[in-house]
């Protein structure tokens, strides 16, 4: 899920490098350049939980994005880091995938004192990888981004997650090396 904003050729280059590296290792890749898609924003109506369970009422690419996420083994969130978080383009798609979880509450990290989240809807979910792009190193934004990926992984029931930050002074192809290293750095998500 490529959340590049209009005219961001660097993030496009990272997306291209990632796809090449994954395909070279035998992965089948479903790339989403989100800004090119007809994708409405989430209305917060919760009909995907209580009226058409598991399905957003809006019939556009949002449904296809949700389907491809749940059918994947790995979901990659690629984004220019915006105030430590996701770009608006990526956020629009992420808001549309809450149909993949259940409205009902559960505790994660302990039946009594665990934190409250929503139940899983499906039996299995993809692992999650966040790749953020910054102009230059920025400790505060990088920490927020790392935390956000970890929090999303809990809420979206990703069995494992990892994140990395690329700087615009680097070559986009650095994504290949990051992908290789992340395999050893992935964290098991609390369940």
């Amino acid at each position: 899920m490529n959340g590049a904003l209009a005219g961001d050729s660097f993030v496009a280059g990272v997306a291209s490098s990632l796809q090449d590296a994954l395909r070279a290792e035998g992965w089948t890749v479903m790339p989403w350049t989100l800004r090119d898609e007809k994708l409405a924003y989430c209305l917060g109506c919760f009909e995907c939980w209580t009226k058409t369970p598991g399905l957003c009422r809006i019939e556009d690419a949002g449904r296809d994005v949700a389907r491809s996420v749940i059918e994947s083994d790995l979901a990659i969130f690629l984004t220019p880091i915006t105030f430590g978080g996701y770009s608006s383009e990526l956020k629009k798609a992420v808001d549309r995938i809450i149909c993949l979880i259940s409205p009902f509450f559960t505790r994660i990290g302990g039946r009594i004192d665990g934190e409250v989240h929503h139940h899983a809807r499906y039996a299995r979910y993809p692992a999650m990888l966040g790749i953020g792009v910054l102009p230059e190193p920025h400790a505060a934004q990088e920490e927020i981004f790392r935390t956000l990926i970890g929090r999303n992984a809990i809420n979206l029931h990703a069995p494992a997650h990892s994140s990395a930050v690329i700087y615009r002074s680097q070559e986009p192809a650095v994504a290949t090396a990051i992908l290789r290293n992340l395999r050893h750095k992935a964290e098991r998500t609390p369940a």
């Binding site: 209305l43 917060g44 369970p53 399905l55 978080g85 259940s102 927020i144 935390t147």
Partner: protein
């Protein structure tokens, strides 16, 4: 921070006007600021981002405010899409005008989970936005169990919201004097209305009732993408 004369309240919920917890919280705070002599203007982000002309009105309103208050719901651990886009536009606008007047930024987040702590990441994002857009940080307030307010004006929500009212009263007093929201207000707002177990039960019952109303009760666990 400077003592505010004009405050702008941005409602970040996409729900219709008058129906969101974000609006209930923000409107109460705006009323308390008005009582202290601060002029307030309210704009709904969803409406403001609908056309370029309306977005220009939003940016103009930001330019003419010395306190901007953003009240919003938590969406998947961060800001809703429309609010993210609005903040991108505001930051770019202010960065293009280095001589932007000094102004402060306060964030009020609410979520449907019992723990207000779910809002910590999004408030960090808001603080980072304030820094990049040249606002003084006036604080981040977080509410859990937002479903218990359910969009009702605080005056109609009864004694259950007494801590919310007290927190926003404290915040208004500080903000009107040009100070950030005090830690006491942050702590009061974060206190749960009811025990988490009771809230979870009520929340789950609420989903069941909505599904029953929508004739979807037997399909609640549907897996339309056929996986798992």
């Amino acid at each position: 921070m400077t003592t505010p004369q004009n405050a702008l309240l941005l409602i970040g919920s996409a729900k219709p006007a008058g129906q969101s917890t974000s609006e209930a919280l923000g409107t109460y705070l705006a009323q308390r600021l008005q009582a202290r002599g601060v002029t307030t203007t309210t704009m709904h982000v969803a409406r403001a981002m609908r056309t370029e002309a309306r977005t220009a009105e939003l940016l103009d309103a930001v330019d003419h405010s010395d306190l901007v208050i953003l009240a919003f719901p938590l969406y998947v651990d961060s800001l809703p899409y429309l609010v993210t886009e609005a903040l991108e536009r505001i930051a770019a606008h202010r960065q293009a005008q280095p001589s932007s007047a000094p102004a402060s930024f306060l964030a009020i987040a609410n979520c449907g989970f019992p723990e207000a702590a779910h809002n910590a990441t999004v408030l960090a994002i808001c603080r980072q936005f304030a820094d990049e857009a040249g606002f003084a940080w006036a604080g981040g307030l977080a509410l859990g169990e937002g479903g218990a307010v359910s969009g009702r004006p605080l005056a109609q929500a009864g004694g259950m919201v007494r801590n919310v009212v007290a927190a926003l009263d404290l915040a208004a007093a500080a903000l009107a004097e040009g100070k950030p929201a005090p830690q006491e207000a942050v702590a009061l707002l974060a206190q749960p209305f009811i025990p988490a177990r009771a809230y979870m039960l009520m929340g789950d019952l609420g989903w069941l009732m909505q599904a029953r109303h929508n004739r979807a009760l037997t399909r609640l666990a549907a897996r339309p993408f056929g996986h798992g």
